[in-house]
């Protein structure tokens, strides 16, 4: 299962890099979104997938799943949502102001 998850994360990274290398600003932002999803999946995989009972003390199980990766992902997801929404608003504003979403034309001198 871990190997499958790693491959999925890899596919997400590939798609993200492909999108981020394009010229359209919107595609780049979608790329960053995919990148952060790949990262979150990677955290989950790296912490080890479900190997025991839910991490509640009342369960009296012999082994528990590590809850920490999920706490980390929760934090990282909130941050990436915030950044992505800011990025989208900024891109919209930049499009209004500069009249283009083509990164080649946004070079400046």
């Amino acid at each position: 299962m871990e190997i499958l998850m790693s491959i999925v994360a890899g596919i997400l990274f590939t798609a993200a890099v492909y999108l981020m290398l394009s010229r359209s600003l919107l595609r780049i932002i979608i790329g960053t979104g995919l990148l952060s999803h790949g990262v979150h999946l990677l955290i989950l995989t790296m912490g080890g997938l479900k190997g025991g009972s839910v991490p509640l003390l009342g369960e009296k199980a012999s082994s528990y799943t590590d809850p920490l990766p999920q706490a980390l992902i929760l934090t990282a997801i909130v941050i990436s949502f915030g950044v992505t929404s800011f990025f989208l608003v900024l891109a919209y504003r930049a499009y209004q102001e500069l009249g283009t979403d083509d990164m080649d034309k946004l070079r400046g001198k």
Partner: protein, 494 residues
Amino acid sequence: MTSNLVIIPLLIPFVVGVVLIFFKDNIKLQRIVSVLSLITTTVFAAYLVQLVQSKGVLTHELGNWKPPFGIILVADMFASLLVLAASIVTLCCVLFAFHTIGERRERFYFYSFVQFLLVGVFGAFLTGDIFNLFVFFEVMLMSSYALIVIGGTKAQLRESLKYILVNVISSALFVIAVAYLYAVTGTLNMADLSQRIAEANQPGILTTIGMLLFIVFALKAALFPMYFWLPGSYSAPPPVIIGLFGALLTKVGVYSIFRTFTLMFYHHPEFTHQIIGYVALLTIVVGAVGAIAYSDVNKILIYNIIIAVGVIVYGVTLTTKAGFEGAIYYLIHDMIIKATLFLLAGSIIRITGTTKLKKMGGLIKDYPLLGWMFFIATISLAGIPPLSGFIGKFLLVQGGLESESYTFVAVLLVSSLLVLYSAIKIFMSCFWGEPKLSSEQEKVSLKCILYPSAILLAVSVFLGLGAEAVIPYVSTAAQTLMDPSIYIQSVLKE
């Protein structure tokens, strides 16, 4: 020692930043509250430094969860000195902003964002948990995104898009590195990590993760191959914000490099530290080339940031006490002096209305005080003896000779000359020569603009002349960096 004081430098800016949001239209109140809070922060930071000096490393366990399980804040001397320097710099930048930033930007939460930026910076300095380092990096970056685009001019919008993109990617890399680190060691507490890495004797996989972290921090600190975003992004916003960024943001990256490579990944210096050393040397060279090549006030100063980052980061690889002391001293000196120079450059730009050196000249006739202050800042930057740059460079040279890195010593000394040349170039073409000012420009009032830079300059002069008083603190900080067990023991308390 456990102490609740450690969290205060984080709490004050956080609470004040939130409160300021509610007083959007009352600019006067915003100004008063932010200055008062920054003065309080500075006083607390100074007290913290004193406390750490007398009682050793202070820790604060959030929610009373014992490390390595809970999140912990750690104030060792290195972190507290940087907190103090950062709060002084921010105080002066905010004072400077009163008369230069403009009412429109003030109305759009400028002061709140400065406070939030400070929360991120302080948090990054004080945290003892590598995932929280990431979180505070993000707090800092989010506020910097807002600050870099505040005002919304075309250049700002254009450059902030790139700035955000670069930082989003580096943040993703940071989380990847943290995920791998967790998979290999099973902990995120820095002290615990340090112990476990030492027990495993840092196998190849951990060295790789260390280098991945180095790439992330190098991007934030603008080291050689990853500095490309900095000149563009930092030339867009107004001078106060560049001053704030130049003094604080890159230094957080430098701090993180120091923390990770002195506390955790110090077992294979022949590989990691060597690469860091080469990267730092190349950074100095590239920065010097840039500083000489441009004839634009902001660009020259921005490339000087890159040079300084290279000089400081090389300090990690010296691994002698004098080397560490020099690096820390130079780091603090550089935070202060870069802010001073950007604020003074801001005053120049306010008078002349341009950043191009060719369009300036003869300012010394009408603005002698500004001229002399800029001159003192310049020679302090280059490291002329009684001033603060000299002490840091002297210690770095001493450390370099002790650890026999002669290339570094040579590069450092030559780069000092080039720094002097690049900064004197500003001084000469701006203050000397034919006056090119119109009669209107000759009467720009600098009454309320010069004193923040004067405060910073005084601090810089004190760092140089009062080195005797400062060195004991720097020495304590260097001692903690030299000997990770001090840090580990005060966090884990065995």
